[in-house]
Amino acid sequence: MKKILVLLTVFCLALSLAACAGGSGSSSSSEAASASQPAESQPQESSSAAADGEEVAVMSYEEYMAAELDSQVTIEACVQAKQSWWEDKATVYAQDENGAYFLYNMACSEEDYAKLTEGTRIRVTGYKAEWSGEVEIMDGTFTFVEGDSYIAEPIDATSLLGTEELIDHQNQFAQFKGLTVEAAGQDEAGNDVAFLYNWDGSGSQGDDLYFNVSYNGETYTFTVESYLCDSTTEVYAAVEALQVGQVIDAEGFLYWYEGLNPHITSVTVVG
């Protein structure tokens, strides 16, 4: 009898522990799932809407550029880079042979976000918007579409720096060659530094990196956007290692913020 009682007690306690562990785990995962699916952005809704959808006319890049701000647009392009995913919303650079698009806060499940690999072709319907000079597709939904993959070769935008023509290539993957690294600011001892964490040095490692480069006597501010390329990436480390006076080649996306503000994805010191 005594042994049976002890065995039963041990069994019950073991069951309690198992329940504790299981309860905790399942509880937190269901919480996360609920929290990450706001009503406005159910991925199922967006997919089915597009699937049921009436025949949607896909715009060419020229038609997209000619469309009024705040009008609904539908485009097809291939993913070039993913900037962020948060609460079923993705921000993505996409491009085709004719031009590039910045897809801001596009409805996207985490599962679909994983499938948005470089070159993946998608059809996006959203609203054309402009935020501080950056023309983008906002509040979009998307579907995966069959078709050729496309990974853009960088256009050489070096000679376009400082010209009005550069904005025609907004959001495209571009390269710049033979840029000279200039001082981005000074450290606490008053020495010139080649980069800053945040635009004024108010940040710390992990924040956006800002660095200045000159070409033909003009200075431009480039950014390593920490959501696009975080502190574990090669480009982040490369910029942290820059020295004033070095000559570099750089690649990145032609993002706009009150003027050119490229989001740099690679830096190579060439001199």
């Binding site: 039963l8 509880s27 406005e40 705040d70 921000t91 935020w131 501080s132 945040n198 940040g203 956006d208």
Partner: protein, 533 residues
């Protein structure tokens, strides 16, 4: 460049929803904090301080300087600084770290956020006893710096840190919102700024400005193709202040949500009309008000007084190319009012809370550092970085601060006219400020209030019809999106529905174990008695 702030808007929502759901499950119990008799200085303490700055290097330098000075006073305490540029990220990270008991020791925060943190037991240290402690409290005998007494903290600022009858934070800085006005344009349109800015005046002038658009798309007012007459940075504040000024419902002090009412609907229609007339937009839709104001593309820009250093032709901080800045006269006025005789404006700004730890000595070390942030040197230096107001009368009345206030316009840096006017604005209207009720879910409600304006504005711009059916659907969607139907009216924990089967099983198993233990003991006792016989 302040591009980073845009992408953070969604973060608060995630944390808010998560916290609402996580409120009652899975939290770790922690022992309640009691103030130690004595601070054990034979030990070393490493504390973390999560601080928020306005993407302003001077502010981060002041934090670093404060830490250095504090560590010199208390060599056995090391403070590690972690910098943030927005409250939403701090909130998200704290929520994440509560479950793993890796919260920071000292943290810049909003009372709305503390209300969520408090859904965990003993997560945040109550400060009542610390305030009053003779040795280590405010102005305490053993404190090694010139700490303010409790009565030297501006009472209404301190009251904002009181939740459920206890103090859970100390105020750090205070600000409000201001309307930064291109007075040159207002007068060019034939208007004169009234003594008190009203909503009627603002809408009328904004419409008049929008009406200057010519057939070629160029506005005669500024000679440019871009003009957003009225831009609002924080639309949550916009809705909250409008409702407060009209005496309409937002929420009760216990957390009953009143946001979705007829006055809100009327206001949304007004905003829709102004948007349709090309008179209004928001930060989330168009960009920073300061950038449009400085480029001569905005007449009325409403932003925090803590954003004043970005406002105006001679602003010390600039986010647009210098050649785009236009010359104009900047007027700084309180936010527009419905009743000019009884102006009302929001009180906002960072507070500091202390997270509870198993070691009360560590909490005491944290408290000493938090208290150091109230010293005159920190208060005055930090307030000068933006249009902030120190939170202690000690600092406010100090000759150094009074001298600072008296030198408005001496330069375009420390004494920048617009910044000093914004600061004065709050100082002159301390009794006209208000705060919204704080409860678990109040952060979500605040976001929802702003989202109503954002959605209406976006929809009008996109040619959608804003009518009763639209508003009804908007309210339903907003309740769902921000989980407002989960917010409890008690202001406390959320009703999460029936207990999960797993939890029922757990409790049943525990009960069975106790029954069996008792049965075993009874059997053993019975056998022992039998043996004795």
């Amino acid at each position: 460049m302040r591009t980073g702030l845009r992408r953070l808007a969604a973060g608060v929502l995630a944390a808010a929803c998560l916290s609402l759901l996580a409120g009652c499950h899975g939290r770790q119990e922690q022992t309640a904090f009691t103030v130690p008799e004595t601070f054990d200085e034979s030990r070393q303490y490493e504390i973390t301080f999560w601080a928020k700055n306005d993407t302003n290097k001077r502010q981060t330098d002041i934090y670093k300087q404060a830490i250095e000075e504090f560590e010199a006073l208390y060599p056995n305490i090391t403070v590690t600084l972690r910098l943030y540029t927005n409250y939403g990220d701090i909130y998200n990270d704290v929520i994440t770290n509560i479950t793993t008991q890796t919260t920071p020791n000292v943290c810049i925060t909003y009372p709305d956020h503390i209300a969520t943190y408090l859904t965990g037991d003993n997560v945040v240290a109550p400060l009542d006893e610390l305030f009053a402690d003779e040795k280590y409290g405010l102005g305490g005998s053993e404190v090694r710096f010139d700490s303010p007494a409790q009565e030297q903290i501006v009472p209404q600022f301190l009251d904002e840190c009181r939740l459920d009858g206890h103090y859970y934070a100390i105020p750090y800085m205070r600000s409000t919102e201001a309307c930064y006005i291109n007075k040159t344009y207002v007068e060019a349109l034939g208007y004169t700024l009234p003594e008190t800015l009203t909503w009627d005046f603002l809408w009328e002038v904004s419409r008049a400005a929008a009406a200057t658009e010519g057939a070629d798309g160029v506005y005669s007012l500024n000679g440019q193709q871009v003009l957003i007459p009225f831009l609002y940075k924080s639309t949550d504040n916009m809705m909250i202040q409008m409702l407060q000024q009209l005496g309409a419902g937002y929420s009760t002090s216990t957390g009953v949500i009143q946001l979705f009412n007829d006055t809100t609907t009327d206001l949304l229609y007004q905003i829709a009309d102004a948007t349709a007339a090309g008179a209004f937009s928001t930060f989330k839709i168009s960009g920073y008000p300061a950038n449009f104001l400085n480029a001569g593309q905005c007449v009325f820009a409403i932003d925090s007084t803590a954003g004043s250093t970005w406002m105006g032709t001679d602003a010390p901080l600039l986010d647009i190319p210098a050649d785009k800045v236009v010359e104009f006269e900047t007027a700084v006025m309180p936010v527009p009012q419905f009743d000019p005789e009884h102006p009302q404006m929001i009180s906002q700004g960072p507070s500091v809370c202390i997270f509870n730890k198993e070691d009360p000595q560590e909490v005491l070390a944290s408290w000493l550092f938090a208290q150091y942030l109230l010293t005159d040197s920190v208060q005055i230096a930090y307030s000068q970085t933006e249009g902030y107001v120190p939170v202690t009368t000690k600092a406010l009345e100090s000759p150094e601060y009074q001298d600072y206030l008296s030198r408005a316009g001496e330069d375009n840096d420390t004494y920048y006219q617009v910044k000093l006017e914004a600061t004065r604005l709050l100082l002159d209207h301390l009794d006209d400020t208000f705060t919204t009720p704080v409860f678990n879910g109040s952060a979500s409600l605040r976001d929802a209030a702003g989202q109503l304006i954002e959605t209406v504005t976006k929809s009008v711009r996109r040619g959608q019809t804003v009518d009763d059916a639209f508003i009804e659907a908007l309210y339903a969607d907003t309740v769902s999106l921000y989980h407002l139907d989960s917010v409890s009216a008690s202001g406390g924990k959320v009703d999460l529905g029936p207990m999960p089967a797993m939890s029922v099983g757990l409790l049943a198993a525990l009960a069975a174990a106790w029954v069996l233990i008792l049965a075993y003991l009874a059997l053993r006792h019975h056998r022992k008695k039998s043996a004795e016989r």
